[in-house]
């Protein structure tokens, strides 16, 4: 395995882990992105990097293995999509609470004391009132 690539992957994993441990979702998103890059660089190192995958003709040793590259591409697309979802979640959190900090488990604290309103029933109530409005139309 190429030492430079391995060291790069290790650094990326280190940075990513630090950022994932923060409270703000925006930092966590960046951390997860860096972590995913670390995984991808590590993957790249498995396929004789630096050589062309499919160019011209020649012996097997002159080509790099194209499979890891294809797989990395898939992994990148997936982490891209999920990152966008997370960013939307962070925005929604900012709209609702004015912050994108990941809150504590409120329920856990409530077990000791306090109560809450039940929100799913609220959702049902909205549905019913909406259907009534539709019926009236």
């Amino acid at each position: 395995m190429n030492v430079t690539l391995a060291a790069t992957a290790a650094l990326l994993f280190g940075f990513g882990t630090y950022l994932v441990l923060q409270r703000k979702l925006s930092r966590i998103v960046i951390g997860l992105g860096i972590l995913a890059h670390g995984g991808n660089v590590l993957f790249l190192a498995s396929g004789r990097p630096g050589l062309p995958p499919f160019v011209g003709t020649g012996s097997r040793r002159e080509f790099s293995d194209p499979l890891p590259e294809a797989l990395i591409l898939t992994a990148i697309v997936i982490s891209f999509a999920v990152t966008i979802f997370l960013l939307a979640l962070a925005y929604r959190s900012w709209v609702l609470t004015g912050d994108d900090e990941v809150e504590d488990d409120i329920e856990d604290r409530r077990v000791a004391a306090g109560l809450r309103t039940d929100e799913e029933v609220g959702d049902e109530a909205t549905a019913i009132s909406e259907s009534i409005v539709e019926d009236e139309r």
Binding site: N40, L86, E107, V121, G122
Partner: protein, 498 residues
């Protein structure tokens, strides 16, 4: 039949596309969802019958030969899981249509739900590690959307934890795949099954632990379970029911598949047994501390994962057969309990034990629908849960692992306690009103305990759980055949590599 293996993956994805196009015509959208899942259900039953008769079947997608192409494979275990998944998905979809809430409020619900179905089926049928990763992602991405449908504050908070944890485990999964590919040069499970054995002991150990962490996060194994009881209860109740019944079981499925195929041993695995014992214990203790029945049930999911992993940890035919039978029963029972929970919430207006009460009089049907799966989950004879737990304990005595068996018996006792807590809180005690709580926005229970389309699927699942009890003999024999397949991977390897 082998050419049709792609059907349970392709059909729901196509259905999801059609579902988006027909979003404005709700009856057509529902028709598409229901018919897709019905076809999948019929197909999976036919598949199970054929696989059980003729043995493992496999196909190469795109006709690329085995170690290179994408392999789809169905052995008995995969076929059993497929049947259960389709059954749960179908009944819960009917329930979701009947419930005023998620499905009615969101046009996209049906298509996301179908994508979840496709991802789930792909996870069970795939024959190589990378496709397993992709199927996991398809399923999880759909689950992120379903979990945060409505985007209320509690959901956004729980969704953050859930998505971040899942994404972290996916990153670890990619890393593990990269390392495995570097070490062996293949990702096909059947091919790996031969090649991992040749690696040095330390490397194998590292891979084994890495996969255990990756799938342990998804399954909710101790100490990686903390996100589960935090996030599941905030979703709409049909969504929670599907998650509770199927999503954690996918993690367990992957653990069983990888451990038996890549890291087979002939002796009980101490690591798995210790994790299993702690998972059971922590799950049930957590459930006792809660005062909200959805959260009690969510902690019990964690606890039951421990039982399954314990069966796997024994590494005997009896142990794994018991684990499979336990999974079969547990998926049905847990989904039924969450559906009943949704009904209780619909009628009572709250999921807090304090907020509802006296339901044995106001909604006696719900009491029955709760009591039967609850008794089965705790393992009271003659219900199927008893058969599963008896088989687990028996196989544990067979291998001489008395400590973990003792823990499992203690946990069963504590499970009875937490179920009693729900029973007395929801069904027997009078509803207590606390001053600062707004009046519950409940509905009249009516004669059958709720809307017909919610009660009928719940009752159907309870009936299935009773059927599992009646057919315990043949089903356990099937589980034993599946366990034998798992412990002797030669059939699996031969079906893929020829």
């Amino acid at each position: 039949m082998s050419d049709w293996l792609v059907l349970p993956i392709l059909l729901p994805i196509i259905g999801a596309g059609l579902s988006i196009i027909t979003g404005r015509v709700r009856w057509l959208q529902r028709l598409i969802g229901l018919s897709v899942l019905t076809v999948m259900m019929v197909f999976s039953v036919l598949l199970l019958v054929e696989v059980d008769r003729d043995g493992t079947i496999a196909t190469q997608v795109g006709a690329w030969p085995a170690p290179i192409g994408i392999t789809l494979i169905a052995d008995r275990f995969a076929a059993i899981m497929l049947v259960l998944a389709c059954l749960m998905l179908l009944t819960v979809l009917v329930y979701a249509i009947g419930q005023p809430g998620a499905e009615r409020n969101h046009v996209g619900f049906q298509s996301v739900y179908l994508i979840l179905a496709g991802g789930l089926c792909a996870t069970f049928l795939t024959g190589d590690l990378f496709t397993l990763f992709v199927s996991f992602e398809v399923m999880l991405t759909a689950s992120y959307v379903l979990l945060t449908l409505g985007a209320r504050r509690a959901q956004v908070r729980a969704g953050m934890t859930y998505v971040v944890i899942s994404l972290l485990s996916s990153t670890l999964f990619v890393t593990a795949i990269a390392l495995v590919y570097t070490a062996t040069g293949t990702l096909n499970l059947a091919d790996l099954s031969g090649k991992v054995g040749d690696l040095p002991g330390g490397v194998r150990m590292a891979f084994s632990v890495l996969f255990l962490i990756v799938f342990g996060i998804k399954a909710g194994l101790f100490p990686l379970f903390f996100w589960l009881p935090d996030s599941y209860p905030t979703a709409p109740s049909p969504v929670t029911a599907v998650f509770a019944g199927l999503l954690t079981k996918v993690g367990v499925y992957a653990i069983i598949r990888v451990e038996t195929l890549l890291f087979p041993t002939s002796r009980p695995t101490t690591l798995l047994l210790v994790l299993a014992g702690l998972t059971m214990l922590v799950g049930v203790l957590g459930s006792i501390a809660q005062d909200d029945f959805k959260r009690i049930l969510s902690f019990l999911i964690v606890s039951s994962i421990g039982f399954v992993v314990m069966g796997l940890g024994f590494f005997t035919v009896a142990g794994i057969a018991a684990a499979i039978f336990y999974v079969v029963n547990h998926i049905v029972v847990k989904t039924a309990l969450f559906l009943t929970g949704g009904l209780v919430e619909h009628v009572g207006g709250s999921s807090l034990l304090l907020g509802v009460g006296n339901m044995v009089r106001t909604a006696p049907v719900l009491a029955v629908l709760f009591a039967i799966p609850a008794l089965s989950l705790t393992g009271v004879p003659p219900f199927a849960g008893f058969v599963a737990k008896f088989a687990l304990v028996d196989s544990g005595f067979g291998t001489g692992e008395y400590i973990v068996v003792g823990v499992s018996l203690l946990v069963s006792l504590l499970t009875v306690f937490s179920m009693t807590k729900i029973w007395s809180g929801v069904f027997w005690s009078p509803a207590e009103r606390v001053d600062d709580m707004p009046p519950a926005a409940g509905h009249h229970a009516g004669r059958i305990g709720g809307p017909v389309l919610m009660v009928v699927p719940t009752a159907a699942l309870v009936a299935v759980s009773v059927a599992i009890m009646v057919l315990a003999g043949p089903l356990f024999a099937l589980s034993e055949r599946a366990a034998r397949d798992l412990l002797d991977p030669s059939n699996y390897v031969q079906a893929v590599l020829g």
